[in-house]
């Protein structure tokens, strides 16, 4: 794998600023939320959901946190070979009647979100499910769109968007590598 061009899409402070804006947008979107549940998708959606909930809690909004690993709901297990390690799934209590926001780092084909929707509905019937992502890079293969987006980049299939988060990677950054495929 050769990385020919590396650009920074978002720096650390910019990420934090985006998260503040996303939290505000989630709050507006939810209106008068009965019960708000932020569900982060493993792995980097989980710390993102945590940060969003921290911002919301500072503003006095009650939020519950969850984590979702969609591996068992993927539609490409036949072709991925040795099995990806499965992360923790943790849903706080009943989802019925709640307002669930799925949180992920990058929105690309939409297949992860399709799997997440299937998995969430197996847990119960939320009143509403919304999608909040840090970066939308286009390239959808399914009719799925985000309700709240931190940043949008338009790149082709030969580019890669990497999100680094302090909790997992020891730094905050969103980087774009063009032409990473040989």
């Amino acid at each position: 794998m050769s990385q020919t061009h590396n650009e920074t899409v978002l720096s650390g402070p910019e990420i934090q600023q985006k998260i503040d804006e996303m939290a505000a947008a989630v709050y507006t979107l939810a209106g008068e939320p009965k019960e708000l549940v932020l569900v982060g998708i493993q792995r980097r959606g989980v710390p993102l959901a945590e940060r969003l909930s921290n911002v919301l809690k500072e503003k006095g909004v009650a939020v519950e946190l969850g984590a979702l690993d969609i591996t068992l709901y993927r539609d490409d297990l036949e072709t991925v070979g040795p099995r990806p390690v499965i992360g923790e799934t943790r849903i706080p209590g009943e989802l019925a009647g709640k307002y669930v926001v799925i949180v992920d780092d990058v929105l690309y084909t939409g297949r992860t979100i399709r799997a997440a929707l299937d998995e969430l509905t197996d847990f119960g019937r939320p009143d509403k499910i919304a999608l909040c992502v840090l970066v939308d890079r286009g390239g959808r293969e399914l009719p799925i769109q985000a309700d709240v987006t931190g940043a949008t980049v338009s790149v082709d299939v030969n580019s890669r968007v990497d999100v680094f988060l302090d909790e997992i990677d020891g730094k905050d950054a969103v980087e774009l590598s063009r032409g990473w495929r040989e």
Binding site: L72, G81, P82, V85, I86, F123
Partner: protein
């Protein structure tokens, strides 16, 4: 994505690497949560057909596999030797080939002959899981035993585990010994000399002639069932005497210098190899083993379903 894979079949723990055993244990962890959900089902093996081919009686193992398969959304068929064409004299490979002709994906097999699952695995393209073969191995039982120990004591490496009872006839013992040694545990066995196989010392397994010594030494006791159906050859004088000398009783456990964990693969002969006070007492994790059994089997099925060699090769690139 992990580079370790289980390959096509799970025949035994003897030839697995510590990394492969670890992979199954780690993969079992998230599957525990699936069984706690309101809808205890994930679509992972949707469209896969699994045949449970049981040439020997089994309740726990067969039901546990069946739950695991159903919770992964696979379609399952159970075949018991009695009441099938096996009693008409069809041989193992013909039975399996006929099943293959019906487009199955996996076979879970229990067989009275040691080596039958391995024999089958070499001859059919479907994944084969050993559900216990003769006196050879019972890998998923050992994996669930090891997972239960790890859950309770947080580690396997450095632990002292003593397998008590009829080691000679026990496939559970063999799989446990190989699995535990691979993960760095010390393993002992305890029971009448007439129920011990040859060559255990060469594996680095210690022999304790008396349960008192085993209890003094061990962190964990895995108490095997005295296989009554195999006892007609005069291995022990009587069940009562066996219980008096080798039975794990509260009176014996009370003299343990430290907390001791008690496992039993089931079905138990209460009052023979284990007393009811122990089986239902605070040391016992016997029902945790049963719960973990489903998670371990889900992990194994999940890992094997993706373990077609060509895919594994492709994913390395």
């Amino acid at each position: 994505m992990s580079a370790v894979s289980l390959g096509k079949d799970l025949i035994g723990l003897e030839h697995l690497t510590p990394e492969q055993i670890q992979l199954v244990l780690d993969t079992a962890e998230p599957f525990k949560e699936v069984s706690e959900r309101q809808i205890k089902k994930v679509p992972t093996l949707r469209g896969k057909t699994i045949v449970n081919l049981f040439y020997e009686a089994s309740t726990r193992t067969r039901i546990s596999f069946e739950f695991a398969e159903k919770r992964l959304s696979a379609d399952t068929v159970n075949i018991a030797a009695s009441g099938s064409s096996i009693v008409k004299g069809e041989n193992l490979v013909d039975t399996a080939r006929n099943l293959e002709a019906m487009r199955i994906d996996m076979v879970v097999i229990r067989h009275p002959s040691s080596g039958a699952p391995g024999f089958l695995a070499d001859r059919i393209p479907s994944n084969v899981v050993n559900g216990g073969d003769g006196k050879h191995e019972h890998p998923t039982q050992a994996l669930l035993d090891i997972l239960t120990i790890r859950d309770n004591l947080k580690t396997i490496s450095g632990l002292k585990v003593c397998i008590c009872g009829d080691v000679l006839h026990s496939r559970v013992a063999r799989s446990n010994i190989w699995g535990l040694l691979a993960l760095g545990a010390e393993v002992g066995v305890c029971g009448p000399k007439s129920l011990m196989p040859y060559g255990l010392e060469e594996l680095g397994v210690r022999f304790f002639p008396r349960p008192e010594e085993a209890i003094e030494w061990a962190d964990v006791l895995n108490i095997l069932r005295l296989q009554l159906e195999r006892m007609n050859a005069g291995f022990i004088p009587s069940l009562r005497e066996y219980n008096r000398v080798f039975g794990i009783t509260n009176a014996r456990l009370e003299r343990a210098p430290k907390d001791i964990l008690v496992l039993h693969p089931g079905p138990m002969n209460r009052g023979v190899e284990i007393d009811s006070d122990v089986a239902d007492g605070p040391h016992s994790v016997i029902l945790d083993q049963v719960t973990n059994g489903i998670a371990v089997r889900m992990a194994v099925l999940y890992l094997l379903a993706g373990g077609k060699p060509d895919l594994a090769e492709g994913a390395k690139g």
